[in-house]
Amino acid sequence: MSESQTPNPEQQAQAVALGRQNAVGSYEARFEDLWRTLHRLRRSTLSLVGLGIVLGIILMAVFAPYAAPYPEDVDSVHFERVFQPPGREFLFGTDEVGRDVLSRVIFGTRISLSLGVTVLVISLSIGLPLGLIAGYMGGPVSTFIMRLTDIFLAIPPLVLALAVSAVLTPTLENSIIAISFGWWPWYTRLIQGQVLSIKEEAFVEACRSAGANPWYIAFKEILPNCLSILIIKVTLDIGYAILTGAVLGFLGLGVRPPTPEWGTMASKGRLHLPARWWMTTFSGLAIFVTVLGFNLLGDGLRDAFDVELE
């Protein structure tokens, strides 16, 4: 048993319930469940709003050049229209070099979304296998992996991201790496906990005594049962990763201008407060709405899956 797991009754109860729920944890069964859950999702207005926001953000990111009224403003300058307040021509006003804030906010969806998704992909790629191995193997391997997560979890993830990005040049890629440093251990811990509780279940014992290969057991029997918790966590975490990326940008450790990252935009706009308030306000608003969308969606998924747990 791993000592680094602080007692979390809520999580444990959820893990046990999830494990017991489907004795046959095949992918087919799980996808059926997923489909049913998605139908359940339809009933909650708030989660649909969240889904709408997320889809909207994705669409904006994909079609940014068409959605933005002034797509060239990503990196061009127009000194003749600096500091225009929000109005009919420039919905969110213009910034200190005359660029349309709305267009930059729209293009910012690309930056934020790619950041959020990439951080999650990296964290999962590192955290998931490590968690599976740690949970399944036990013994010294498990101890080593969990001690490793302890090291990375010894400081809050934001602080670690700040420290790492401090020593790297400020680019989007480096921000992603910096944030991933602090993100992956959570997944290792989560999966390890799940594996531990599911490992004891009867059906796994049955598989093992039938002589199945450990990798097979891991992927075909254990992982499907963690799927719902994983999906919920990933959805929520994309939002939080975007938030962290924005904080990095705001503190000056993220991407550099003219890249239209929301945090960086807010930070630049801050210099011109209080008179020219629109740059900071709208870039911050974009972050808020995006994270809110992912949170609503994640919450809705949690409710939809939880209903099954009853």
Partner: protein
């Protein structure tokens, strides 16, 4: 007792984790591209001068030797010299730590004092307007970037409405309170300096609220979930069926379990506070360790970076152990465990 063993083991495990972290941070800091000596001296300095500084700073030694030198320094209470302030990092930290400590502590108290009652309210009035409004508020609180809400507070409350001061820890025209603990709230109270106390409180409001918004939401959620879960539990139904007064049921029976649930996330929340402090101190120009840290990060001031990270790591570890101890004290299931079962 089993739990005591668990605590001792936790304590022992923290130490290698901290050491591992120091190694990690050190490695990251030293391995980064760019030359700290060059940065310090500027592009005009000659190559000789740069090399000389490098030798002085011990930068040409192999990295593990550098690490050992550094750690020896830590145990002697020396954390190197800040490239920016030109003082011992230890001195800098001692100077700036109280401000951050005060901010984070006040924010934590605020979070607990507001979050837990809101959670209870939300649970008792489940699905009614109190529940819905608090849940919407909670969702927003968790999604809002702290710098954004902080700036909005500044704009609206301070600038346009003039209710609160925009930045800083105390009014600039007031002399600093007599330094006893470094915590203005306590120092002004002890010395009876009520003008300064009022100013301190006014300056604390926005930063503390900004910092605690998301934790309030998270605490509220956890408490609400715990209370709602308990409403269906056997011991509540049985006690009610046998005549236990309703308000005792809610405010004593359920509350203790909800507190325990809240406690499980308090450690994590503290990490949230520590991280958020960097943002909040920057927005409100709060003269604390986190703002010092941000400057260190931007200027690649290694000793300061490592110093700040270490302090945070130690503080975080201490809080987590305290939380674990409290958890064991409150929850007999953890304390006594399966071994306590009699046949």
């Amino acid at each position: 007792m089993r739990y005591r063993d668990y605590l001792i083991r936790r304590l022992l495990y923290t130490i290698p984790a901290l050491i591992g972290l120091s190694m990690l941070i050190f490695a990251i800091a030293r391995v980064m591209p760019g030359d700290p000596a060059r940065l310090a001296l500027g592009p005009e300095a000659s190559e000789e001068q740069v090399q000389k500084l490098r030798d002085e700073l011990g930068l040409n030694l192999p990295i593990h030797i550098q690490y050992l030198h550094y750690m020896r320094g830590v145990f002697e209470g020396k954390l190197g010299v800040s490239l920016y302030t030109n003082r011992d990092v230890v001195v800098d930290l001692i100077e700036y730590f109280p401000a951050t400590f005060e901010l984070v502590t006040v924010a934590m108290i605020l979070a607990v004092a507001v979050g837990i009652p809101l959670g209870i309210l939300s649970a008792i009035r489940q699905d009614r307007w109190e529940d819905h409004t608090t849940r919407v508020f909670a969702l927003s609180g968790v999604s809002m970037p702290r710098f954004w809400i902080g700036i909005l507070f500044q704009l609206i409350l301070a600038y346009h409405l003039g209710l609160l001061p925009i930045t800083g820890r105390i009014a600039p025209d007031l002399p600093s309170p007599t330094h006893i603990t470094g915590l203005y709230l306590i120092d002004t109270l002890i010395t009876g300096n009520f003008v300064a106390l009022k100013s301190t409180l006014a300056h604390l409001v926005m930063p503390a609220v900004t910092l605690s918004l998301s934790p309030i939401a998270q605490l509220m959620r956890v408490v609400r979930a715990s209370m709602i879960e308990q409403m269906r539990k056997g011991y509540i139904l049985t006690a009610r069926a046998n005549g236990m007064p309703e308000n005792l049921l809610v405010y004593k029976y359920m509350l203790k379990n909800a507190f325990i649930a809240a406690l499980t996330i308090i450690g994590l929340l503290y990490g949230f506070f520590l991280g958020g402090a960097f943002v909040v101190e920057t927005v409100f120009s709060w003269p604390g360790m986190a703002r010092y840290g941000v400057r260190a990060f931007i200027f690649k001031d290694f000793n300061a970076i490592i110093g700040v990270v270490l302090v945070i790591a130690v503080a975080y570890a201490v809080i987590n152990i305290v939380v674990d101890i409290a958890y064991g004290l409150l929850d007999p299931r953890i304390r006594l465990g399966a071994e306590a079962r009699e046949a």
